[in-house]
């Protein structure tokens, strides 16, 4: 009788398929995974601690750098929590623009995902196709916010400034051409035999397990659980938009792929509705001690200059209390829990990062699978270490 021995393989932290600095310790019996342990923290910057030493306005910039594929949704989640603390009412135009921009960002994030995930599994062409369209979105985001990845554009009380006049036409051009592009990705992957063999039935996660692990986003919905923050706890007037939440059945890598492709189509519908009904009006709540005045006003009005200085220098002081603001980010439920002690700095800022919990479920997913499927599993969950390690 041969002696059975397990082999332990170290994957990462520098490994192209781990999408960042993730280290997986995989214990193998031949080619079958017995046990796996993720090691994280290589990108830890102490964002929650840093926020305690910054004013509410300054802490906004920390949110950009969590999930760096998705700056606008991060801004929105943080602002929602702050606005709950302050009890602000946001003008309709700002709400609508927030939705349009976040959905564009969701498409960009999913494009990055489909590109890299397909590349991990050996389908290189998709990368070039998807990055082409992602570039269009990032150009729009740059045109509006001034930055491609770290916009800090959604501010407490509204937006940093109104969108430029050609925003509508740029977005409309994208909305018109994009459905054909999704069809192109589908021709490359959906019925591709190699793609199907590498993804179908791989890294399955049952619905009860997914819920217990706190998994959210497309991974949860691929397991057939209908939970989307946009529908369950609507924010920023999502309840006025018409869209459906795509669901999977098997909870495998292939279903996660299908759910995300469907989500891109739904996001496009939301964007289209958003720019069609974009209301006129201000983009900031009229709350003098929270929202800084316009640049133009600052240069002509002494009182506005003083207000601007006070808001930037001292910040504002929300009443004592707590608030939880959550959005449906491309990865899942992204939440900010803010505790205010009445000073101008958050007493505690807690970030509920979706990737953190989604990653925690990977050992369960890949138990008993082949070692080659680890890459498929990690790719299908779409983790971003920036928000896991915080």
């Amino acid at each position: 009788m041969a002696e059975t021995r397990f082999m332990t393989i170290n994957m990462g932290p520098q490994h192209p398929a781990t999408h960042g600095v993730l280290r997986m310790l995989v214990e193998l019996d031949g080619e079958v995974i017995k046990k796996s342990t993720p090691y994280i923290g290589y990108l830890h910057r102490g964002v929650e601690k840093l926020a305690e030493a910054r004013t509410y306005l300054q802490a906004l910039t920390l949110s950009d750098r969590l999930d760096y594929t998705n700056g606008l949704s991060n801004n929105l989640a943080y602002c929602l929590a702050c606005e709950k603390l302050l009890g602000l009412e946001i003008p309709k135009r700002a709400q609508c623009l927030r939705v349009v921009l976040c959905e564009l960002q969701r498409i960009a994030a999913h494009l990055l995902w489909v590109a890299t995930h397909a590349l991990d599994l050996g389908a290189m062409t998709v990368l070039f196709y998807a990055f082409r369209e992602r570039e269009t979105i990032l150009t729009i985001v740059e045109h509006v916010t001034g930055a491609r990845l770290t916009p800090s554009y959604i501010r407490i009380g509204g937006l940093a400034k109104d969108v430029p006049p050609d925003f509508k036409s740029m977005v409309q051009a994208f909305v018109d051409e994009f459905p054909g592009k999704i069809d192109e990705y589908e021709t490359l992957l959906t019925k591709n035999v190699i793609w199907r063999r590498r993804t179908q039935g791989i890294a399955q996660l049952s619905a009860p397990d997914a819920i217990s692990y706190g998994v959210t986003g497309p991974v949860l919905r691929a397991s057939g659980v209908n939970y989307d923050v946009r529908k369950a706890y609507p924010y920023s007037s999502y309840d006025e938009f018409d869209f459906i939440v795509p669901l999977g059945t098997n909870g495998d890598v292939y279903d996660r792929y299908l759910v995300r492709l469907q989500e891109m189509r739904q996001s496009l519908r939301i964007v289209e509705q958003g720019i069609a009904k974009l209301p006129d009006g201000p983009v900031n709540a009229h709350v003098l001690d929270v929202v800084p005045p316009d640049k133009d006003e600052v240069q002509h009005d002494m009182a506005a200059l003083i207000r601007h200085f006070k808001i930037m220098e001292e910040g504002f002081k929300p009443p004592v209390g707590e608030a939880y603001g959550a959005v449906e980010a491309p990865k899942g439920e992204l939440g900010f829990y803010l505790i205010s002690d009445g000073s101008s700095k958050p007493f505690r800022m807690r970030i509920r990062a979706p990737s953190f919990l989604n990653l925690a479920s990977i050992p369960k997913m890949i138990e008993g699978q082949m070692v080659a499927d680890v890459v498929a599993a990690i790719g299908s969950v779409d983790i971003v270490l920036g928000e896991i390690d915080r």
């Binding site: 217990s212 692990y213 659980v225």
Partner: protein, 175 residues
């Protein structure tokens, strides 16, 4: 009456006013539990068909830096079937251990490791209580209020030492 208010009333009716204190902030009800009965009540919240909080959305610590009941654990519960959220809190003193809930919600496993890492709160019967984000050698718990933001000794160069080297040095000192 919203679903969450019904749940809060049901909690008070089942366990009495003693272990359950109800408060409110920005329109969301909060429930503070007596640490001695908290695990039992959390289990009830998960498994009772009227409550059915299937998902532990978040679990984190807060350091109030007070003499009595320094730390607070916040359990952010979410019921997918009833579509409601509830924040459940437990106050703990420094050095107190709290039973794990990682057998009730698997998500709690990593959350509790993070709280141990950041606040130094220990959880009883946790399957694998190690640091999660910080290095195993790290000293202190950074999210405590008495931990300076820039760290204790920012300028000290990091010297990486292998375990063999450390043992070798100790033997050298003896000889």
């Amino acid at each position: 009456m919203t679903g969450t208010q019904t749940v809060v009333q049901r909690l008070v009716a089942t366990f009495g006013e003693g272990p359950v204190t109800v408060s409110e902030s920005n329109g969301a009800p909060h429930v503070t539990l007596d640490p001695r009965r908290a695990r039992e009540i959390l289990d009830f919240l998960r498994n009772d068909p009227e409550c059915a909080f299937e998902m532990l959305t978040d679990l984190f610590g807060v350091d109030y830096n007070t003499k009595k009941d320094r730390f607070e654990l916040v359990y952010l519960l979410n019921s997918l079937s009833k579509n409601m959220r509830l924040a459940v809190k437990v106050r703990l003193n420094e050095g107190e251990v709290f039973p794990t809930v990682s057998d009730i919600w698997l998500a709690a496993d990593w959350f509790e490791r993070e709280i141990f890492d950041m606040f130094g709160i220990r959880f009883l019967n946790h399957p694998d209580l190690r640091r999660i984000l910080l290095d195993d050698d790290f000293e202190g718990h950074p999210l405590r209020k008495d931990f300076p933001t820039e760290g204790y000794d920012f300028d000290r160069p990091l010297v990486v030492q292998l375990e063999e080297e450390r043992e070798g040095e100790q033997e050298g000192e003896k000889g």
